[in-house]
């Protein structure tokens, strides 16, 4: 039997369904960055995003028997984390708390690293000011690289509405970034 790290996703899911927690651990490893990216983009707060990511994997495991194996697992887990984030935002009444940044060092050149980190920080701060209903679509499109159809499946929206959310979300984001003095996008 191959090691868990080399196993096909379907086999890992089948083992997870049979109660093999180690297989589920491998699924968490494979998807945690993507799931965390969505949570961080939508919630804008590291502690909340971390919590939502953990919650998403626990909920997914509990509901694994309801997962349709013919669907893409990524779509399913992204739907779960998006719903968790949506509920959290609703509970927090769209609070836009900004967390204390504790960045890790970037590339080899400190000057380039500083510019790159600055861009990441600016985008994250600006995203926090975008209307919450547009954030998820922006993150799924520009962080997770998903197409309109899949974004629609995850957010439960028609493709046309996804396009509208992206268009309006980007317009808001541009305005916010311009207010912060970002113009060239280089």
């Amino acid at each position: 039997m191959p090691a868990k790290g080399q196993m096909e996703e379907l086999e890992l899911l089948r083992l997870s369904l049979a109660g093999d927690l180690e297989a589920w651990g491998e699924i968490v490893t494979r998807y945690k960055r993507a799931v965390f990216g969505i949570a961080l983009g939508v919630l804008g707060n590291v502690a909340d995003a971390e919590d939502a990511t953990q919650d998403a994997f626990i909920r997914a495991y509990k509901n694994l028997r309801r997962y349709d194996l013919t669907r893409r697992f990524s779509t399913w887990i992204f739907t779960i984390v998006s719903n968790i984030c949506k509920n959290r935002l609703r509970r927090a009444r769209f609070s836009t708390r900004l967390e204390d940044e504790s960045q890790v060092p970037g590339g080899a050149d400190p000057a380039i690293a500083a510019v790159e980190e600055e861009r990441g920080r600016l985008i994250k701060e600006a995203l926090n000011e975008v209307s919450p209903k547009y954030r998820a679509a922006l993150v799924l499109r520009y962080y997770n690289d998903l197409d309109y159809k899949e974004i629609g499946q995850i957010l439960g929206l028609p493709e046309g509405t996804v396009k509208t959310h992206l268009h309006r979300g980007k317009a808001e984001l541009r305005r916010i970034l311009e207010k912060k003095g970002v113009k060239g996008y280089e």
Partner: protein, 173 residues
């Protein structure tokens, strides 16, 4: 404004924003598995109350087998007492049952056999069973499938974590 340029800026900014925080995900797997194991532990305690009423159809042959064995055990004890003979080893007959239709072999290893392999016998529908005489106590154990893969017993009383985040099953006799 240049649309593709803005898209690239946004894409790169989001990537950097997330990557700068990835260190927060260290140990996420352990935290998730720990929560799930705690849940299994809680469920294990509750299921003790429900288990007699929740035997799935697939396990009914094993249940019938266990019931028959229990009847013989009671008769044996009764006769033993009546004749003043020895007890049945001082232990209690405990059935280990697991459904694994695809397996070529299933063994059980635990505190009760010094973690050596005791084979289970394959029955109809891929139900594997073995009966062991165990003295009262708490035992950790695990099933081994095809001589290589350790799996916990879904019917265990509780679970404990062991090396490499594996779960051992626990039974109270």
């Amino acid at each position: 404004m240049n649309e593709p340029k803005f898209d690239d800026y946004l894409r790169e900014g989001l990537r950097q924003g997330v990557e700068g925080q990835l260190h927060h995900l260290e140990g996420l797997e352990e935290r998730v598995l720990e929560k799930l194991a705690e849940r299994a532990l809680r469920r294990g305690r509750w299921s003790k109350l429900w288990r007699p009423f929740l035997i799935p159809v697939a396990r009914r042959p094993a249940l019938a087998l266990a019931t028959t064995a229990a009847v013989f055990l009671i008769i044996g004890l009764f006769l033993g007492m009546g004749l003043g003979g020895p007890s049945l080893g001082g232990g209690k007959g405990v059935w280990f049952v697991v459904a694994y239709p695809e397996a070529q072999s299933v063994t059980v290893a635990g505190d009760f056999n010094s973690w050596t392999d005791t084979p289970l016998k394959r029955g109809k529908d891929g139900i594997w069973t073995v009966r062991l005489d165990l003295k009262p106590g708490r035992y950790e154990y695990s099933f081994k499938i095809n001589g290589e893969k350790w799996v916990p017993d879904p019917r265990a009383d509780e679970y404990v974590k062991t090396y490499g985040e594996q779960l051992n099953s626990v039974i109270y006799v």
